[in-house]
């Protein structure tokens, strides 16, 4: 099993470098000269020359990429054009907020999603099943930004339960977490349900019944563990979904997370900041996948003891 984890670790290094390369290429090479682009109206030729020299813009692309990578490894993602502060500093401030939101949303989605999926699989075609599946379909189909506004309108404007936006206390997190969590709860519920139904068709479930085990115990003792294994991988893949959603939720609810930073960076054409935030979020996703793989290999004995021992 150690070999399995080691292999996964080694594979994710090129992925991260690749991601950094793609982001770098898209942001630096393709759009031509970022400075003129940035200064748009009041272009001043000598300012352009000084800044571009200072930022090695005229060197060949691959040199700039290695230069960038070397700095990034040392934690230096360059200086934000707009805020004139080191990008890494800005990101470190924003990171905990996004993490809090993502974790809260993930917990919401697990608490709602998994039991809903299990119950609707056990009580198939019952009212409960239709209700939960309807709830999940709604969650998956609702645009996050619209649900956010709807929640703000109902729960803060009309009923005043929660503060409409801002971020200095747990109660600020509740609404955004529910808005963000609901859609991935939908995904998890639908997946848990279809997994459980698949697993119930296996031969070893029939064996369990032939041993005289009561139907409910067959589900809990035999079917559940097998069906929840793939859900673990989805929980990690959810990370990228949550981070996408976070970008919007943060702008609606005014949470100063990485998503918000990225959005502002785009609007201000602040390339280094955007580049830093994108790479950081993507590394989060790769780490998420890694955690899922390790968790999966720990839970699934077929990978844990893969040597044929007979």
């Amino acid at each position: 099993m150690k070999r399995y984890i080691l292999k996964k670790l080694i594979v994710s290094v090129p992925v991260i470098i690749g991601v950094a390369l793609i982001t770098f290429l898209l942001l630096n090479v393709v759009p031509g000269d970022p400075i003129t682009l940035m200064m748009k109206e009041h272009i001043n030729p000598d300012v352009v020359k000084r800044v571009s020299a200072e930022m090695h813009l005229n060197d060949p692309a691959y040199f700039r990429f290695i230069h960038f990578l070397w700095n990034a490894l040392r934690g230096d993602f360059g200086i934000s054009y707009k805020l004139n502060r080191p990008v890494s500093e800005l990101l470190l401030e924003a990171f905990p907020n996004t993490l809090a939101l993502a974790v809260a949303a993930a917990v919401v989605s697990w608490i709602i999603g998994i039991p809903a999926g299990i119950l609707s699989a056990i009580k198939r075609y019952s009212f409960l099943d239709n209700f939960f599946m309807g709830f999940s379909l709604l969650g998956v189909s609702m645009p996050v930004f619209w649900t956010g506004l709807l929640f703000q309108y109902i729960f803060s404007l009309k009923l005043g339960f929660f503060p409409i936006s801002g971020f200095d206390g747990p109660e600020y997190l509740i609404m955004p977490a529910i808005v963000l969590g609901w859609s991935s709860a939908g995904t998890i519920a639908r997946l848990t349900r279809s997994n459980l139904l698949d697993v119930m068709r296996n031969d070893y479930i029939r064996t369990a019944r032939s041993k005289g085990i009561k139907e409910l115990k067959v589900v809990t003792n035999h079917a559940l563990k097998n069906s929840l294994l793939p859900v673990v991988t989805v929980m990690a893949l959810q990370v990228s979904g949550l981070l996408s959603g976070a970008v919007i939720t943060e702008s609606i609810f005014g949470i100063p997370g990485i998503g918000r930073v990225a959005v502002d960076a785009i609007q201000n054409r602040d390339m280094p900041l955007l580049q830093g935030s994108v790479i950081l979020t993507t590394i989060l996703v790769v780490v998420g996948n890694l955690v899922a793989d390790i968790l999966y290999s720990y839970l699934d004995p077929r990978i844990k003891y893969n040597k044929k021992e007979a």
Partner: protein
């Protein structure tokens, strides 16, 4: 009763044979589809939305772009079914015109990314080895980007316009499809009917398009119907963040975004386009789920 065909004695079959109750493929599929309520409802709504998009100029009561400040923030009334927005434009007409953008955004990039993804997945799954490793690492990288962020980066470089949205959404979509098709190709490749063709000497390209692709079609169709809603949602989110469609285009996402400041006194401006997105996305999800039950036999019962 056995017939003698040029020397080889073969048994003639008794009259009752197998084909009576098997029915042919597509008729049977149609039958199951109709029984599946979910798919039918989804299908009907989709047809309605396509109709509205096509005949928007005839259906829309007012000109969606005509500004009339006197009629600003009209409550939903008989005259303006969904009220008017901050520039006095009729919200209903703008939604009707907006359906064009959403459908276009939902269908075209999804199709592009499906085709690219299917071909890459098939090649990676069939040839394995180095090609597989390279293609799949690229798709891993693309999949590591949160889809919205990647779209934002693409939009940042290319600038905000409809064509660029196509490119951005296609760049996101192909990786997922390539993974699904690759897995399917790898399992089909070991099936004996592919080995048979290789034993006959059929070229790889022909094997891929004659034997492998047709057996992926049903999964691709389901994936297609389920990817459309996520494209629609992505476009709406991009427009909401102001990096998607630019004014005066009436993209639903943009309408929600423009209306959000006036949430308190004119909620209908923000809420109605949101409902429109919800209905279309729900319809495609319904249709996709229903289709998967029909096409994926063992899920039938």
């Amino acid at each position: 009763m056995s017939a003698n065909v040029n020397g080889v004695v073969t048994e003639e079959w008794t009259d009752q044979d197998y084909e009576v109750e098997m029915g042919n493929g597509w008729k049977e599929l149609g039958l199951n589809f109709v029984q599946n309520k979910m798919a039918v409802i989804g299908g009907v709504i989709i047809i309605l939305v396509i109709a509205t998009a096509l005949f928007a100029p005839f259906i829309a009561p007012y000109d969606p772009y005509k500004v009339n400040l006197k009629l600003q923030f009209q409550e939903p009334s008989a005259q303006f079914l969904l009220g008017t927005d901050m520039y006095g434009r009729d919200v209903l007409s703008r939604i009707i015109y907006g359906s064009r953008i959403s459908l276009l955004i939902g269908l075209v990039p999804t199709l592009i990314s499906m085709v690219i993804g299917a071909i890459i997945g098939m090649i990676a799954g069939y040839y394995r080895g180095k090609i597989d490793f390279i293609l799949m690492s690229i798709s891993d990288m693309v999949l590591s980007f949160p889809s919205l962020l990647l779209a934002m980066v693409v939009m940042y470089t290319l600038g905000a316009s409809l064509i660029n949205i196509f490119i951005a959404l296609s760049v996101i979509g192909w990786a997922q499809t390539s993974r699904v098709v690759r897995a399917q190709t790898m399992s089909l490749k070991n099936k004996e009917f592919v080995e048979a063709s290789r034993a006959i000497g059929v070229r790889d390209i022909v094997i891929m398009f004659r034997h492998i692709l047709p057996n992926c079609i049903s999964q691709l169709i389901v994936l297609f119907t389920l990817n459309i809603p996520s494209s629609i949602l992505s476009e709406a989110s991009l427009s909401f963040l102001g990096i998607g469609a630019q004014p005066p285009a009436s993209s639903w996402g943009l309408m929600v975004s423009n209306g959000k400041e006036y949430l308190f006194n004119a909620p209908w401006v923000t809420i109605s386009p949101g409902i429109a997105i919800l209905i279309v996305v729900l319809a495609f999800n319904f249709f996709g789920d229903g289709l998967r039950d029909v096409l994926d036999p063992h899920l039938k019962h």
